[in-house]
């Protein structure tokens, strides 16, 4: 497993082995460990909290049923993310145009983030953009992206997963990851054109 901080690197192998040996408590530990990361992945793809919750339950349920077949050819992290990505994309294809965003409130810490301050005010109170306005804009821009582009933006920009790991999860080349990011950023740039430095 990579030593990158974005990727949890602890006793996954042991927990997987214990789960395969019939210890459900070990899988509980895996759930607690991976839920926050996978929640982010699914939530930023669906833009809906309730859908994310249901989908995440299905993802862990499938992982629990399939873990006996997990041979460790890839890391558990990669395997788990692959399941989540595939199920999320299948879900989005079925959901099609039924779009009812149900967004979570941003953490209050966002107000102290220098990037947020720079993006929203630039010291001019008359031009200040509310958190919710920014959130709405970001969400709308993300939803305009194709599933393939949105998934790489979610994993790279929001979750901080390195290109190489994204390539493994999506079973594509690193070059393809970079290319998709480039085009996704360009599209987002057009959507968020109002957030420009004067």
């Amino acid at each position: 497993m990579s030593s990158d901080p974005a990727i949890p690197s602890s006793n996954d192998k042991e927990l997987v082995a214990r789960t395969q040996g019939g210890d459900p408590g070990a899988f509980d530990e895996l759930i607690l460990k991976y839920t926050p990361r996978l929640y982010g992945l699914v939530y930023h793809m669906t833009s809906n909290h309730e859908d994310t919750n249901d989908l995440l339950q299905d993802i862990f349920s499938k992982a629990y049923r399939s873990i006996v077949n997990f041979r460790g050819n890839s890391s558990f992290y990669t395997w788990m993310h692959s399941i989540a990505v595939n199920m999320t994309i299948n879900f989005l294809k079925k959901r099609n145009r039924r779009q009812h965003p149900s967004l979570n409130d941003p953490d209050s810490n966002i107000e102290n983030d220098p990037d947020f301050i720079a993006a929203t005010s630039n010291g001019d109170p008359t031009k200040e953009v509310s958190i919710h306005e920014l959130q709405k804009k970001l969400n709308a821009s993300m939803q305009k992206l194709s599933h393939d582009h949105r998934i790489v933006v979610t994993m790279f920009d929001i979750q901080g997963i390195p290109h190489a790991e994204i390539a493994k999860i999506l079973k594509i080349s690193e070059g393809t990851v970079r290319s998709r990011l480039f085009y996704a950023h360009r599209q987002l740039q057009n959507s968020l054109h109002e957030f420009k430095r004067n």
Binding site: I31, H49, S61, A118, N139, I158, L188, R197
Partner: protein, 162 residues
């Protein structure tokens, strides 16, 4: 405000910074603990709720004893099916004319000649010129003419020598 640079691939850092702000969108407090409890509840519900195939099997197993079909009835049905299939196979003509050929196929007309009796019979020769009225003048041809490909003459000269 953050500059949205265009063009080269290095100009996407500002975009990365803005998108990164979505990290602050978090589920309600205590969500992750509740999630595990919900997972356990669903697992138990899944175990208790029978699957569709299990339900069908259960229904069938419940239905068959109610029918009270004697055990030998199945053997009788199997035997009858076997007899019927053998009869169908035997009745099927061995040489069937495919439908595609039936248009051009003509039934042979019955011969109108008188029946052959032992008195009318004459010796038959396999010779081609065997005609009882004309006796052969030249050497008899014993076999029907055959055609042989003429082999080229063997020569030691090169055929393309100039």
């Amino acid at each position: 405000m953050i500059l949205m640079e265009t063009g080269n691939g290095m100009g996407h850092e500002p975009m990365h910074k803005i998108i990164k702000l979505k990290r602050y969108e978090k589920p309600p407090e205590g969500y992750y603990e509740d999630f595990l409890r919900e997972f356990h509840r669903r697992q138990r519900a899944e175990m208790l709720a029978p699957s569709l195939s299990a339900m069908i099997m259960e229904r069938l197993s419940g239905l068959i004893p109610e029918l009270r079909v004697p055990a030998m009835a199945f053997a009788c049905v199997a035997a009858v099916a076997m007899i019927v299939s053998v009869a169908i196979i035997r009745d099927t003509p061995r040489q069937t004319i495919p439908h595609a050929y039936s248009v051009s196929y003509a039934q042979p007309r019955p011969y109108s000649q008188a029946p052959v009796t032992i008195q009318n019979m004459q010796p038959v020769s396999l010779r081609v010129d065997a005609d009882p009225q004309n006796q052969p003048q030249a050497a008899p041809i014993l076999f029907p003419p055959s055609y042989l490909l003429q082999a080229p003459l063997a020569t030691h000269e090169s055929p393309l020598s100039f």
